[in-house]
């Protein structure tokens, strides 16, 4: 059933009894042309675009838990494309373009809200770095503008305007098309879209082994629901990618860290944008429900614990109270963690692997949500054609051997 105001009216008046399942719950078939391991946003988007753009519909998405239960459902929902390096600019802008029409494309309101992402500068060095981004983005045709201190305070009036504080505001870079989207809806929208093309979405199905033939080519996966044959396998398992790739004997340059986020109790709207300060490690936006959504940092040590340390949340709230002094009396409602997979250059890995028929999409670190549509789109093309999509081409696994790194973090100390 197409979602629309009309269907909502019709169903509303008849007791909402006619809504069909948003996706089926099929038993796994014996074999698929492509098996995607990981039912988060990136994996579901990959399956959707495989079916929609490449006509490959004999596809299964295997998810060990519930759809979107990993980082898709745990992030702070920020969307932006104002990256520094051309390779990143192309990738995240590709995603941004897809965000702009995603609700229509999926017939599912993913609530993409281009309310502006404002990245603060507090020092001369911050200003230099911020302006460099603005210049680079302008050349790449990506919107990003520099705001003076006064313009920043005007745009987001709840910021601390004091000049005698430890890190007064010096200016900021604003990407107006940046904003947020509803994370769960992205997973569900892609799942429903892929399902309608015939993709089998199989939850509670954990991959236990990757099976290869004598030549080394991948022929299937062993799962908790039995063996499933596969022409090609795409691994999109975020924090657990190393484990899955290890089943095929591929060692990944990844480290996994707990990353925390938290929300306040809902309050009436106080902020119009997403606000980030890399210098004092804080970022915040306000959800449509009214909760302040706050991103914290990663633990200092690798781990798979989804709790994370109290001191991390503490440092983040400290910074939030400093930037927004009127939030001190508000209250933290929920605090949670997710496991992020981090590469040496903090940029993702999208593409082929040394094993024939095995593809991988991982290493999104702390910033994968914003890329979801673009990531799925270029990964689907890479799997379908057996060669990297031009936008994905720089993000190979080989770059760590050749040294062609795409290091956003080193360039700007940007949490992304």
């Amino acid at each position: 059933m197409k979602f629309s105001l009309i269907s909502l009216l019709k169903e509303g008046l008849t007791g909402n009894r006619g809504w069909p399942r948003q996706w089926r719950d099929p038993a796994p078939k014996a074999a698929y042309d492509v098996v995607i391991v990981g039912g988060g946003g990136h994996g579901l988007a990959t399956a959707y675009y495989l079916a929609k753009e490449h006509g490959i519909r004999n596809v299964a998405v295997l998810e060990k838990g519930w759809l979107g239960g990993g980082n898709t459902g745990r992030n702070t929902t920020v969307v932006r494309s104002n990256y520094l390096w051309e390779e990143s600019e192309r990738l995240y802008e590709h995603a941004m373009k897809l965000w702009e029409t995603l609700s229509d494309d999926l017939n599912y309101n993913v609530m993409y809200s281009p309310r502006g992402v404002l990245m603060l500068a507090h020092s001369i060095h911050d200003v230099q770095v911020g302006k460099r981004h603005v210049h680079a983005n302008r050349l790449a045709g990506i919107d990003n503008e520099w705001l003076s201190r006064e313009e920043v305070l005007d745009f987001c009036p709840i910021l601390n305007p004091a000049t005698d504080i430890r890190y007064p505001i010096a200016g900021g870079a604003l990407q107006r098309r940046g904003g947020t989207a509803r994370h769960d809806a992205v997973a569900w929208g892609y799942a429903r879209g892929a399902d309608r093309f015939g993709v089998d979405i199989i939850q509670n199905c954990e991959v236990k082994g990757i099976i290869r033939d004598a030549s080394g080519k991948v022929i299937g996966v062993e799962t908790t629901r039995g063996y499933i044959g596969a022409g090609k396998v795409g691994v999109v398992a975020a924090g657990h990618t190393s484990v899955v790739m290890g089943m095929a004997g591929v060692r990944m340059p990844l480290e996994s860290y707990p990353l925390q986020a938290l929300v306040s109790e809902p309050i009436k709207p106080i902020m119009p944008c997403v606000l980030m300060s890399n210098a004092i490690h804080a970022y915040m936006s306000q959800s449509d429900k009214g909760e302040l959504v706050i991103g914290a940092g990663t633990d200092q040590y690798v781990s798979y614990s989804q709790t994370g340390g109290l001191q991390i949340a503490q440092a983040t709230i400290e910074a939030i109270c400093e930037l927004f002094p009127m939030t001190r009396r508000l209250r933290m409602l929920r605090n949670w963690g997710g496991i992020v997979d981090v590469t040496p250059d903090r940029s993702p890995i999208i593409g082929k692997t040394p094993v024939e028929g095995l593809y991988v999409n991982c290493g999104w670190g702390t910033g994968g949500f914003k890329a979801t549509p673009g990531s799925g789109h270029v990964f689907a093309a890479t799997i379908a054609k057996g060669e990297p999509h031009p936008i994905a081409a720089p993000f190979t696994l080989e770059r760590f051997t050749t040294g062609r790194l795409i290091d956003e973090a080193a360039a700007a100390a940007v949490a992304h």
């Binding site: 007791g15 017939n107 809200s113 281009p114 050349l139 709207p269 109290l310 009396r329």
Partner: protein, 965 residues
Amino acid sequence: MSRFRTGAGGRIDRARGINFTFDGRLYTGLQGDTLASALLANGVHLVGRSFKYHRPRGILASGAEEPNALVTVMRDAGRTTPNLRATQVEIYEGLAAKSQNRWPSLEFDLGAVNALASPLLASGFYYKTFMGPRFLGSNKAWAKLYEPLIRRAAGLGRAPEAPDPDRYARRYAHCEVLVVGAGEAGLRAALDASADPHCRVILCDEQAEMGGWQLNAGSDDLVEMLETLGARPNVRLLARTQAFGVYAQGAVALAQRLTDHLAAPSPETPRERLWQVRAGEIVLATGAIERPLVFPGNDRPGVMLAGAVETFANRYGIRPGERAVVATTCNSAYGAAFALKQAGVDLAAIIDLRDKPDPALAANALKAGIPVHTASVIVGTEGHKRVRSVRLGKVEPCGIVKSTDSIACDLVAMSGGWVPSVHLFSQSRGKLAWNGETGVYSPGKDAPGQKTRSVGLCSGEFPADMRGFHNGALPTPDEKGAAKAFVDFQNDVTARDIRLAAREGFHSVEHVKRYTTTGMATDQGKTSNMNALGILSGALEKPVPDIGLTTFRQPYTPVTFGIFAGANRAGLFDPVRKTPAHAGADALGGVFEDVGLWKRAHHFPRKGETMHAAVNRECRAVREAVGLFDASTLGKIELVGPDAAEFLDRVYVNSFAKLGIGRCRYAVLTNEAGYVIDDGVVARLAQDRFHITTTTGGAGRVFAMFEDYLQAEWPELRAWQTSITEQFATFAIQGPKAREVLAPLVEGIAMENEAFPHMAMREGRVAGIPARVFRMSFTGEAGYEVNVPAGEGARLWPVLLDAVDKAGGAVYGTEAMHVLRAEKGYIIVGQETDGTMTPDDVGLGWAIGKGKRDFVGKRGMMRTDLIAPGRKQLVGLETLDDKTVLEEGAQITDTPTPAPGSAALGHVTSSYWSEALHRPIALAVVAGGRGRMGETLHVPMPGGAIPVRVVSPVFHDPEGARLHA
């Protein structure tokens, strides 16, 4: 005395009336009241509006689990606290509270029109609409029209308008046993544990008074137990203290409220305090929460949890209604019925779902004249702002429900049984076990590294008088009926919403939670989660344990941001590091910039001087005479040991084996990938002793990296490092007159050019102070850096300043330093480099020790991409018009009109007006830059491209004659 108050008993002080306002109306309560009990004592049941449908809501519970009664308490503009539960707010004289999320008033709320559209507002409706009309453009209607409307309608209370002036504190504590919850079980656990005087015990409870349910009885036992505990020196009692989070290895976070209950708190007293406790054992005595019954119209004001009714009656002396109906599936509600009867409330009926309730209880009820309807449920309620009557339904043996009588009442006390509070146990990552007999999850095995013990009701063991439960919605005759049976009161989630989610394929409990928002309100589902599970279990025809459980996340109840920030605000947000000469620089009118934690003097404007004029003057002084610069912020490390030189050879790209004693070398540090991450100067003080400088910002990072290599990679090396950044004050004296200025102040060092050449280091005295004097330069002029003990820095500074002044020189700041070094083509790590530049890229290939077997970064530097042609290289740029100062960070292209989406050749890394050259200069990194000398490139700007010429990055004294002068 109000007619809603009983004649005697309870924990309130009937002699002490307390005046307060709610929505501007003046009321009187009693000392000991919560806002909820005080409002009930005034006959006020309507206290809030629901989130989505704006339905009138009353007080459901008596404690932390309350979903409805959210209020804003106002002291002043900065001391306004939204979303507080009226059941937890203690009243004080003059308390001003108001209701939330209603307009224009609580009594008449226009938002209630939403209820008319409620068939359209079922779970997930917003994912299905708000996407068009499409002619506006994709996503436009959502972004411009619908979302702003939704945002305005959503949200609960308002944030304060001014910064919170209150103080918050933090404490750390260790104990052998932490007991959470001071009900009977918790008190006994604390008594037992603290009998051993060596066992430190902390007992905390979120309520103002310790005692939990015992406060309803007012027992003498309680007084005695509290007295015993209070007398023991090894016991710390923390009332008004919520344990809100359990972390790894027995770490528990507590939030203590200190002043919110006071009429006039001292501004000196912190409002709240964060306790971080590390406990050998965590004893959980957190009790149980009653589950509401899910029947149509169960949300009307006047419908309350039976346990809460009993608490209000016994502890607060409240008569919460005139005529009550008790609806239950649990024995404990009979107690509420008797308490109400005792309080003088007329009992219309007990409606028990069970066909055979506990015979003794039923008999007692009948004896008290209370009609008991067995196998019966409420199938509907009437009333708008207060329940007026309930409709009784009889459950036939076949399961069909027949609606029978209507019973007039103004109070419904309901109970669906009890659910143990396992939140903290679950946060400790312990495993929960399902108990089908009691219909609850209870604590199972501890997680590794945790030692917990659950005692009392939270263990899942219920006494006989608390048995009986129902999970999920009550049977109703009319599934399609328009009346709503609420599961999550605050988020307006009904039983039908959960069934709809199940129909649409949301079968995981996490999906249902997210799709319907059940359990996601500020109460975090304390009263709703088990019912939601029960309904889902019915809809999917799967037993509850097969459905799973949502994660219990910290905090247990919302925690004020302020306690996390503590005193770390404004000037204390981060430590400020000041150099020993800071006061001197300040007195000279220095303008400071933040570099890391340091304050560094950026420039020293004289009266009426602009920044540019000041910087130009400072540059001239250095080039023509002499300048004084405070370089104390540079990181400094002393490295000692027989293998110190070997260690340096391994970490830096340079070779140090042959560095003579008393000599210095510029040193470049790369990471394993082969990229420049720091630079500095290494001086050899003795065969086994080095003085190393790092960048200001990199000091901590470099020290940590060295320590990592020393401890983890090469533990066999006999070398030890000490940070000496703060042991020395460092002053640079630079310029053609540097020697002339410094020499008269120096003792014990031969200052002649030959005796003390460039890149040498000597120890002696300067102005009588022991000093390490380096001859080196970051300006291109001959110069010295004088290191004296930090404590002497403030004494040396004016001496040097005076000498420099007399020589016609000037003090200069970081901006002039930047200009001077750029004129000479010296890089700044973090400006010319960005973590992607090799030493060769920035013209430092010469620094790499060619004969070395290995060093950090060597393998990385040999990778194909790092030696490929076309890498970005450091060059100088001159604007063709000789006037325009380029903007730092600007991009460089080979065409003045790059197509949108073009790739850049590189970017401008540093750009200044050069006073020495009387023209703008810039440093840049450009693809294949060193092969482009003389080429014209372009810097595209919003107003058009600026043409530039590629030149050598060394603009000033390329031969270096001045350094050695």
